[in-house]
């Protein structure tokens, strides 16, 4: 067999914290074969990035290798001297990580940064320039010349990541390490970047170590995957096998946390993995997963499980024979939706527009949006970044004033623009939960004080009643007494988000705007938060405006979905129909961009280019510049289609008749 591109042998690594060695990788072994793409998955903090940076020996000063070795292209990288290491990085391995905006030097032109990589290989300036141009073309940048002369901040996120990938490819490395390369990018951009990486990998025969929290992306990209838990690999095998037929209780749990197969809150709750990963440096039980494992027995506490080989895959578990019990166990039932669509809607938007004026230009962020939200209903808002989701939500919240007054009605009354002008009950009635709970929570205050303050301010409770209400609300978001005296910085991301939710619900709001509430959370935590949001909605009949770039999450929680593009509603309808079709060509493209853990059966629909600027909007149908189903002739580019009612009470904005739109059962498609 040929030498692996990357090989970890029983690697043990610890971080020194206050003189104590805290083990993070506890005997990790795996190999990436030439031309192979290997995925590493696992919850935050399990050591994925540490493994990635060990492979290029770029570790914080407090890292200590306690044992084992790492071979890259057959060389023991832990024994290289400075010069050899530098050569290795220049020639054999590249790494791409999250947030391309930060990865490029803001004060140096893109071209010079790219040329640097070639000049390092001893090329002349002229050759370096020619090659830079060439590689930019390879990463599908249409106009390399102009990109070379720009600074990083003048490129969009997707372009920046292409440049970083181009830089990684410059030395034609044997191995590329990708650590969350698409986190933070739009689904459509993510899909393009993944396509690009796949294409280049096939073209150059590069090996790839791919790390992502997006299990769908891992499945779409990888030949094999390793599941890492608390610094130990617990399962490894072909990606397809591991995802379709997980054999370790942890992998099973991870996959069951995801809303899959079109699951909905009304049908079933999501599985959560109760408990936490063992703390860093804590003494490990024999089986690392034992504290959270539903199958754990006495043996699991006393004897560390070795690999069980299952024809081409390995599982580290004593009770592999019982795992099918977990797989087939039914998920708890969900809470049926009780939305009464004949009642007066909680919120009515009637032709809401929002234009920002900046530097003499009119940025039309939201155009003529009309919709209704009923009590206890969730309306999902989806669309690429720049489509106006957040602006719309902020207009409802009163952060922005809509262009025309009197276009928003809340609970039968006209909603004034600007939170200051609103009466207290309107302010209390509409609250928000952010993606990043830190921004909503005062770092210096205890949880008790944060929630207590909201109870006094929003619910206007007298002091004597605050304590009782505090108990009630903290119990309903499942925080315990112990958490109340902690500060936000002492809480994990999921717990912080619970505090933020408690705060938002303190004044018994009628509507809660959820702006990417689970995007920075692990899937198991996300599942718990989604269950919680479902329960709170059911108990209190609260309505949600729910924004998320994760379409499966939106589908799980939403009753109806509005798809936005350049500030317009392109389509609005019941969640099932919007997802399963017939749907708008834009929705169809969005859906096909999101890779699925269940494997992709559909051909991906490509959207060319980026979302046009909100200043110079295209004529006719605003989507015509990218629409894969644009009609022959110039109807689409000259006439803006009206919002046409659909049989299920929704609307679609497209010249194509409803019964000829995509995604519908074949029978309907004539």
């Amino acid at each position: 067999m040929s030498t692996p591109a990357l090989e970890f042998n029983d690697l043990q690594l610890a971080y020194m914290v206050r003189g104590q060695a805290r083990e993070v990788l506890r005997g990790v072994s795996f190999a990436v074969q030439p031309g192979e793409t290997y995925g590493l998955v696992g919850e935050s903090g399990c050591g994925k990035s540490t493994a990635a940076y060990t492979a290029v020996r770029y570790l914080p000063t407090n890292a200590r290798i306690l044992g084992g070795d790492v071979h890259l292209a057959g060389r023991d990288i832990l024994s290289l001297d400075k010069k050899e290491l530098q050569n290795l990085r220049a020639n054999d391995v590249s790494i791409v990580y999250q947030d391309p905006g930060q990865a490029l030097n803001p004060t140096i032109k893109v071209g010079l940064q790219l040329m640097e990589a070639y000049q390092l290989l001893g090329q002349s300036k002229h050759d370096a320039l020619t090659n830079s141009r060439e590689i930019l073309r390879k990463v599908q940048i249409a106009d390399p010349e102009s990109v070379l002369g720009r600074y990083p901040h003048q490129l969009s996120g997707g372009m920046q990541q292409r440049v970083v990938i181009a830089m990684a490819l410059a030395c034609n490395p044997q191995l590329i390490i990708l650590d969350e390369p698409t986190t933070g990018l739009d689904a459509t951009v993510e899909a393009e970047v993944l396509d690009l990486i796949r294409g280049l990998r096939d073209e150059f025969g590069t090996s790839v170590l791919f790390i992502s929290h997006n299990l769908g992306a891992i499945r779409a990209m990888c030949d094999r995957v390793g599941v890492l838990y608390a610094g130990k690999l617990v399962e490894e095998g072909r990606a397809q096998d591991v995802f379709d037929n997980p054999q370790h209780p942890y992998t099973v749990g991870l996959l069951r946390c995801l809303p899959r197969h079109g699951s909905r809150k009304s049908a079933q709750r999501l599985e959560t993995i109760p408990g936490f990963q063992p703390l860093l440096g804590a003494p490990l039980p024999a089986c690392v997963f034992v504290d959270r494992c539903p199958l754990a027995t006495e043996k699991c506490r006393s004897v560390a499980p070795e690999w069980t080989q299952l024809g081409g895959r390995k599982v580290r578990c004593h009770h592999v024979d019982r795992v099918h019990e977990l797989v087939s166990s039914a998920l708890p039932e969900g809470t049926p939706s009780t939305v009464d669509r004949s009642s007066t809607p909680m919120l009515v938007l009637d032709g809401v527009s929002k234009t920002f004026h900046q530097g003499g230009q009119a940025i039309k962020a939201v155009r003529d949006v009309s919709l209704e939200l009923f009590a206890g209903e969730t309306l999902g808002l989806v669309g690429e970044s720049g489509s106006g989701k957040t602006t719309l939500a902020h207009t409802v919240l009163g952060i922005h004033a809509p262009d025309q007054a009197n276009t928003i009605t809340f609970d039968g009354k006209n909603l004034k623009p600007g939170t200051r002008k609103r009466p207290a009950d309107q302010v209390r009635g509409i609250q928000i939960i952010f993606q990043n709970p830190d921004s909503a929570l005062n770092r210096r205050h205890s949880v008790r004080r944060i929630i207590g303050r909201s109870l006094r301010r929003l619910a206007q409770l007298p002091h004597s009643e605050v304590d009782g209400a505090l108990q009630e609300i903290t119990a309903s978001v499942r925080l315990t007494e112990r958490h109340l005296d902690m500060r936000p910085s002492q809480l994990s991301g999921g717990l912080k988000q619970r505090v933020a939710i408690a705060r938002a619900f303190a004044g018994h709001p009628r509507i809660v705007v959820c702006d990417e509430p689970t995007s920075s959370l692990d899937v198991s935590v996300q599942a718990a938060i989604l269950n919680l949001l479902g329960d709170l909605q059911h108990d209190r009949d609260t309505s949600y405006l729910f924004i998320s770039h994760d379409l499966r999450v939106v589908r799980y929680l939403s009753d109806r979905i509005a798809v936005l593009y350049l500030g317009r509603i392109m389509e609005l309808g019941p969640a099932e129909r919007v997802f399963d079709g017939p749907h708008h060509p834009y929705t169809e493209a969005l859906l096909s961009a999101a890779p699925s853990v269940d494997g992709d059966t559909r051909e991906r629909i490509r959207l060319d280019g980026e979302i046009p600027s909100a200043v110079n909007q295209p004529s006719g149908c605003v989507f015509h510049t990218r629409c894969p189903r644009r009609l022959e002739g110039d109807l689409c580019s000259t006439v803006e289609p009206p919002l046409t009612p659909t049989p299920d009470g929704g609307v679609i904005r497209c010249h194509i008749p409803f019964d000829q739109l995509g995604g519908q059962p074949v029978a309907l498609r004539s």
Partner: protein
Amino acid sequence: MARYVLRRLGLAVITLFILSIVVFTVSAVLPGSVGRAILGPFADKRSVDQLNNELGVNGPLVNRYFRWVSHAVRGDFGNSYKYKSPVMDFVSKALTSSLKLALLTLVIVVPLGVIGGTIAALRQGKALDRIITITGLSLAVTPEFVIGIVLILVFPVKLGWLPSGGSPKGAVLDQLKTMLLPALTLTAILFGYLSRMARAGAIEALNSDYTRTATLKGLPRHVVLRRHVMRNSLLPTIAVIASQMSYLLGGLLVTETLFNFRGLGLLVADAARGKDIPMLMGAVFIVGALAMTMSLLADLLIAWLNPRVRLGAKQ
């Protein structure tokens, strides 16, 4: 960028205008009768009034202000009460000396501060870092006159190497010798701030993703430091140098008095002591204008170095 420059320039003009009003009102309103101030408590009322008339300090305040401004913009701050000759002559001479001293100080302190700070950042947490940081801090909190006196005691008095004071005159080398001790005093004061900023800037740049990218590209360490770390860490350091400009001018005042150095500081101090109003107004106004010009230049430099500002990105 052009718009930024224009806006910044406009702001500078407005600030200067406000400064002129403040300087004028303070000196016009505070000392009561100017004539009385000059002639002393025993002069008779008639000669006081006569002098007041001669000096033109009797008319309405607004008229006097505009007269003062219309002259000031032409570089005419009137005559010194004490020396009976144009204020501008004294101010411009003092200005030249002070600028020389400031320049020499900057030439010494900027490289020292930047290099010291960067070395401290590279040795973060190690002994050298501590030494640099603690030295800088202790120097910064020691009053100028203490440092100045120690320097005077050591070099001129004990070793007899350098002059203990005076103003720069004659050959360049002699001038440098005269200015060295005051410049070192100022350096001691400024080094702490500067090196601390340079250290913070360098640490931030060292920990940044782009430095990681550069290292993992396989660039040699010195190239990474020069091209990627220093370049970005200098930005905040320049900002500090700029904001320390007025501090430097303030430091000049004390240091100049100590070393009997004929610069703006000493001029202001003397004028204030001698109630020489035109001189005081002229000198203060020039000091203010100088501080502003420097911070303006520094801001423009920062903007020019930072492509995000230069190319007018939205934040």
